[in-house]
């Protein structure tokens, strides 16, 4: 068996708990970048969802299937094209969009495949990251960005404000948005993003395609 790594805060990641609260029981869920399947398992246990996962790492896929989850080895940049429109109630992209090659295309695919898209991402606008860059003059490393720049898979890091711009660019509607501070407390995102962009370490956006669904 592969070792399943522990989430940083308590038994479950705070963004996973938030997603589990929002998802309707018995719905169809596609978790893109599902990792070891922690969220899929949580959703199966608490919401009896019909869950599927896509994961790039072969080892993690095999660990998921061994746990009884329906997961395929695949690449968010390539393999989402295959899915039909509105095949799922929720298409979830959990702390993965910053590691995709074409974040806009991936987001558009999520909005096409799911009636709703739920996207979480680390916020590059957090004050500690800004401070690190300002005072050390070097690329920041944090809990969510643990690797040095040359090792990091995250080629498309963004701030909450940047992501909100991308949402506008793909003409999606924000149904809910929440940032989490470094203690895992929720900072609801409303009109002004500045405070959340400064204090949020990561954010979760629930989006809906304005035209579809």
């Amino acid at each position: 068996m592969l070792k399943i790594s522990n989430p940083p805060h308590g038994a479950h990641r705070v963004d996973h708990l938030l997603i589990a609260e929002m998802v309707e029981p018995g719905s169809r869920v596609l978790d893109v970048g599902c990792g070891d399947g922690e969220l899929l398992q949580l959703l199966a246990q608490t919401k009896s969802v019909d869950g599927r996962g896509v994961e790039l790492s072969r080892e993690r896929v095999n660990a998921c299937v061994t746990r009884g989850l329906s997961v395929i080895q695949g690449d968010a940049d390539v393999d989402l094209d295959d899915y039909p429109d509105q095949a799922f109630d929720y298409a979830i992209l959990s702390l993965t969009i910053q590691a995709t090659r074409y974040p806009k295309k991936v987001l558009e695919n999520l909005l096409r495949i799911g009636r709703q898209a739920i996207v979480s991402f680390p916020n590059f606008g957090h004050w500690r990251i800004r401070a690190q860059l300002l005072f050390t003059g070097r690329m920041p490393q944090t809990e969510y960005l643990p690797e040095p720049w040359h090792m990091s898979p995250d080629s498309h890091l963004c701030t909450i404000k940047d992501f909100a711009n991308l949402v506008a660019l793909v003409d999606a509607e924000v149904e809910a948005a929440v940032a989490f501070d470094s203690w895992g407390r929720r900072l609801p995102i409303r009109r002004s993003l500045s405070l959340q962009n400064l204090f949020g370490v990561k954010a979760v956006f629930v989006l809906r395609n304005r035209h579809g669904g």
Binding site: R28, V61, N62, V65, R67, S70, I72, Q73, G74, P84
Partner: protein, 396 residues
């Protein structure tokens, strides 16, 4: 009649012919009144389907697993082979407490139509002539093999199979079942297989068939009447095929350039290299247990398999509306049925939003990996069956 010198078969050939017509396993016979309509539009009757079962069918008949064997496989998936006396070919996977747990599941493994272990095939006696069918046997397809299995499953009184598993040609049967009889398949595990046979695979099969047919002892397929066996041709076919089941890395690691006797080249065409000796052994033992005409017919059925072409060149159409849960498995070093071809199946299943898992197992053993002890493969099959069993309401 025949003018060839009459000589009797050796013991192993006699046993092989006996097993083809009167197998050691269970067998069900369907009479002339229940012919099987084949893809070539001929009616085949009577037909026999030889099969083995393991475990107990539960009261609501919901725990049945069908295992489909590959080209030269047989129904002895977890029991001793009556001729070779070797353990079952998937005994590592099937048995009490194994990933396919016979304490929990009722496992059925039929010998495929066209084979030579008791199901109707070219080595079977044609009741109309009293002689083996040989080349009078009609050319069959994977669909025909599956339709014959449907008869067996009906005979056993099973409406829906909990799972169908198979590797290689077995995987093709799994895909055919899941496509043509989707409502009867709760879950499906196609392993190391493809939705259509590639040009390269057809090419290798053609080499094998030509080797058999070039053997003068093949006698235009009528070798039984001449009391002959095309040993050399079938052995060469097996040797060539066996290379395709392995990988360069596996061959290199196992044999390298090691010499057979001492460390001297003999400056002859003897088997100097260990790899030559190994292949010769593979060829000659295969001839003892397999019918040459069956080899021709089954390889042909594999060549004809093209689930995509059968569905308007859109593979997804083969699975539209499916409720079956799928686990697709490939192996990194399998160049005969490479991961790319498994991924095509996964893409088609995604296109209809089917419930699909897909694992690629890292191994250097080539196509044959699915027959070997691969712990990660076993763990994923076990996990998949457990989860599907919970969904199906089967007790642990």
């Amino acid at each position: 009649m025949n003018t060839a010198p009459v000589k009797s078969f050796d013991d192993s050939t006699n046993v092989r012919i006996a097993e083809a017509n009167n197998p050691s396993s269970s067998v069900v016979h369907f009479p002339d009144s229940e012919p099987l309509r084949l893809a070539c539009d001929q009616l085949l009757a009577p037909i026999s389907i030889a099969y083995q079962t393991y475990g107990e069918l539960n009261a609501d008949k919901s725990n049945a697993i069908l295992i489909c064997h590959a080209l030269t496989g047989d129904q002895y998936v977890a029991s001793v082979h009556p001729m070779t006396k070797k353990p079952g070919w998937w005994e590592t996977l099937v048995g009490p407490g194994k990933p396919i747990d016979t304490d929990r599941f009722f496992v059925v493994c039929p010998n495929i139509l066209g084979s030579c272990m008791g199901s109707t095939g070219p080595a079977s006696i044609n009741p109309k002539t009293g002689r083996p069918y040989a080349l009078n046997f009609p050319v069959i397809t994977v669909g025909d093999m599956v339709n014959a299995q449907v008869r067996l499953i009906d005979h056993l009184g099973i409406d829906q199979l909990f799972c169908i598993l198979g590797g290689s040609l077995g995987g093709m049967q799994v895909l055919e079942w899941a496509s043509s009889h989707t409502e009867r398949v709760y879950s499906a595990v196609p392993i190391a297989t493809a939705a259509w046979h590639s040009s390269q695979n057809i090419a290798f099969h053609e080499v094998g068939r030509q080797a058999v047919m070039a053997d003068p002892d093949w006698c235009a397929g009528d070798y039984h009447s001449h009391q002959k066996v095309p040993r050399n041709g079938l052995a060469v076919a097996r040797m060539a095929a066996h290379i395709t089941y392995l990988s360069e890395e596996a061959l290199h690691n196992r044999f390298g350039r090691s010499l057979q006797r001492g460390s001297e080249l003999t400056f002859s065409f003897n088997a100097d290299f260990q790899v030559e000796s190994y292949l010769r052994h593979q060829g000659s033992t295969f001839v003892d247990r397999f019918d040459a005409n069956s080899y021709l017919y089954i390889t042909r059925a594999m060549d004809y398999f093209d689930l995509e072409a059968e569905h308007g060149d859109v593979l997804a159409n083969a699975f539209r509306g499916t409720k079956t849960r799928f686990l697709v498995v490939s192996f990194t070093s399998d160049w005969l049925y490479p991961t790319r071809e498994s991924r095509e199946i996964v893409r088609a299943l995604n296109a209809v939003a089917a419930n699909v898992s897909f694992v690629e197992i890292e191994t250097d053993s080539g196509h044959d990996s699915f027959l070997l002890d691969e712990p990660e493969f076993f763990a994923t099959v076990r996990g998949f069956l457990n989860a599907a069993g919970v969904k199906r309401g089967l007790s642990k």
